[in-house]
């Protein structure tokens, strides 16, 4: 599975870089590094709604380093296929 984190200007200024760092830690923690690849994307089109992550066809907005683990577990993890 691929996770795309938006690094467009707006998300970048809202700290998408820290979100990426956090997601990397989370993937490591749950030993998902081989199944989930993390990529950057230039603008996912949800500029006003906080840092956006695309998981398959779903756009999840409002990521912060603090809520990244919660969001990952509730909105992304259930859809991870092994």
């Amino acid at each position: 599975m691929e996770l795309e984190v938006c690094v467009g200007s707006s998300c970048h200024l809202k700290g998408s870089q820290d979100v990426i760092a956090e997601l990397q830690k989370i993937l490591k923690k749950y030993e998902l590094e081989d199944v989930v690849t993390l990529k950057a994307s230039f603008c996912l089109g949800r500029c006003a709604q906080g840092v956006t992550v695309r998981s398959d066809d779903k756009l999840i907005t409002g990521f912060t380093p603090e809520n990244a683990e919660d969001k990952f577990l509730t909105e992304i993890y259930p859809f991870v296929t092994f």
Partner: protein, 473 residues
């Protein structure tokens, strides 16, 4: 606030704007012949001998705005009927010469080219004169004038000569498409071909970015342009034109600085590959030096490649100050990544063709790159960035750079390097004086531009190259 430096730019802009307007309205075919009359509507000529000649030249400009002569591979073209066939005698003594007795001109001339007639008036022997200009500098009456054509004077690679009919001629095997002549010709007789129709076509075909996504990659020199509005408003304007997103080419510059530093350490000697006119110049004039050109793609192509690799349905238009980029994007190694190239002049024309007044728009944000990526826009910036990258890598390799500001300085550095007497290990080559901010496609050129670029650089959220590119890995 001024939008352009010269009336030639303004004229060119009006043509581009009208062509773009017609194209956006799907009326180009029916109305293309009316455009010259629309621009020169009166009966009194304001530029040439008569309105008919003005219109004839305008229809040539319309052709260039529509892509120009497709049989000519160069993007820089002469409009022969617009060429005023300026005299081209070089240095000549004018009748302001008073026949003084000091004869400074004679003293300073190393070639002994100055003689005097019975009235002590100076004459220049053309067979001896090497056009150094020293005599003109020392004459207390400014009596020696340079009748060199502005285009030839601007062209530091010697690509401009004269046709039999005295109109200017560009040798494609020497021209590096820097655009210096385009900006300098006082009659606007040399123009760069425009790909605005190409871009408008993409905007339409993307159907509001549903068929594919259209990205604008903007050069960092944009910070010195559109000074009558805020940068954020320009970004909103670009999106309003139909672009999905705007990305800084400066992020590509960060990536280039990072890998160029590694390449330099590995090879020990390198010339930069960012400026397409400089790269072209090495190929044409210093073929032996080609092996030293950095293998990195330019920042434009690097960031575009990255976007396309992560976003398969992306199409990318580069917007910058540069006419040579219009040549670069056609190269086989760049073409897959860049779909078209616009200049800032053309962007202004596109805004106005859609009646987008950017000063009334909200401010959007543009932030992808670091300070170092952003200062690529001015001479010396690339060198600073490569040094910084070397430092960030923890390398102790000593960068001994030479920053060449303008193609003349590039020539000297390359000449020395080819004879192994340069005493430096990195050549930063910029074909335009002051770097990209001096580019021919800039709306305005001024002393403040460098300060603007530095200011914009300091506004970057990321202070180091490593931070800026870490998110991409």
């Amino acid at each position: 606030m001024r939008k352009f430096d010269t009336k030639v730019q303004y004229l060119k802009y009006k043509v581009l704007r009208e062509v773009a307007r017609a194209a956006f309205n799907d009326k180009l075919l029916e109305t293309v012949n009316d455009i010259p009359k629309k621009i020169v509507s009166g009966k009194e000529p304001t530029m040439r001998c008569c309105v008919y000649k003005e219109r004839a030249i305008l229809s040539e400009r319309v052709k260039l705005a529509m892509g120009g002569d497709s049989s000519n591979p160069n993007v820089i073209e002469v409009i022969d009927i617009a060429c005023d066939e300026c005299p081209m005698g070089g240095y000549e003594v004018t009748n302001a010469c008073r026949g003084c007795i000091a004869h400074r001109c004679e003293e300073v001339c190393r070639k002994g080219a100055i003689t005097f007639d019975r009235n002590q008036k100076a004459h220049i022997d053309k067979t001896k004169c090497v056009e150094c200009g020293m005599c003109a500098k020392v004459c207390p009456y400014s009596a020696i004038a340079n009748y060199k054509r502005p285009c030839e004077n601007a062209c530091k690679v010697g690509a401009i000569s004269m046709n039999d009919d005295k109109s200017a001629k560009i040798s494609n095997d020497k021209c590096i498409a820097c655009g210096a002549c385009v900006y300098q010709c006082p009659f606007g007789a040399i123009m760069d071909k425009s790909y605005i129709l190409n871009v408008i076509d993409m905007i339409k075909k993307s159907e509001n970015n549903t068929k594919f996504r259209l990205y604008a990659v903007v050069a960092p020199s944009i910070s010195s342009q559109f000074t009558y509005a805020k940068l954020g408003q320009v970004i909103t304007g670009i999106k309003k034109l139909g672009f999905f997103s705007v990305v800084e080419a400066a992020l590509g510059a960060d990536m280039v600085a990072d890998s160029e530093a590694r390449e330099l350490e590995e090879k020990g000697f390198l010339t930069s590959s960012c400026c397409p006119a400089f790269v072209d110049y090495i190929h044409k004039k210093f073929p032996d030096m080609v092996k030293h050109i950095s293998h990195n793609l330019s920042p434009m192509a690097t960031i575009a490649k990255y976007i396309k690799e992560t976003t398969p349905d992306a199409k990318i238009v580069f917007i910058g100050p540069c006419t040579a980029k219009k040549m670069e994007f056609k190269k086989p190694e760049v073409h897959p990544w860049i779909d078209s190239v616009l200049t800032f002049e053309e962007l202004q024309a596109l805004f106005d063709s859609r009646d987008i007044d950017i000063t009334t728009l909200e401010e959007d944000v543009l932030d992808n790159a670091s300070y170092f990526g952003r200062i690529f826009a001015r001479s010396g910036g690339l060198t600073d960035a490569v040094k910084q990258a070397m430092k960030e890598h923890g390398s102790d390799f000593e960068v001994k750079p030479v920053s060449c500001d303008g193609i003349e300085q590039c020539k000297f550095a390359l000449l020395k390097a080819s004879k192994n007497v340069l005493g430096a290990n990195f050549i930063e080559g910029m074909a335009c004086v002051n770097g990209c901010i001096g580019g021919a496609g800039c709306l305005t050129h001024g002393d403040k531009n460098k300060a603007e670029v530095d200011k914009y650089g300091k506004e970057a959220m990321e202070k180091t190259i490593k931070d800026a590119i870490s998110q991409l890995k």
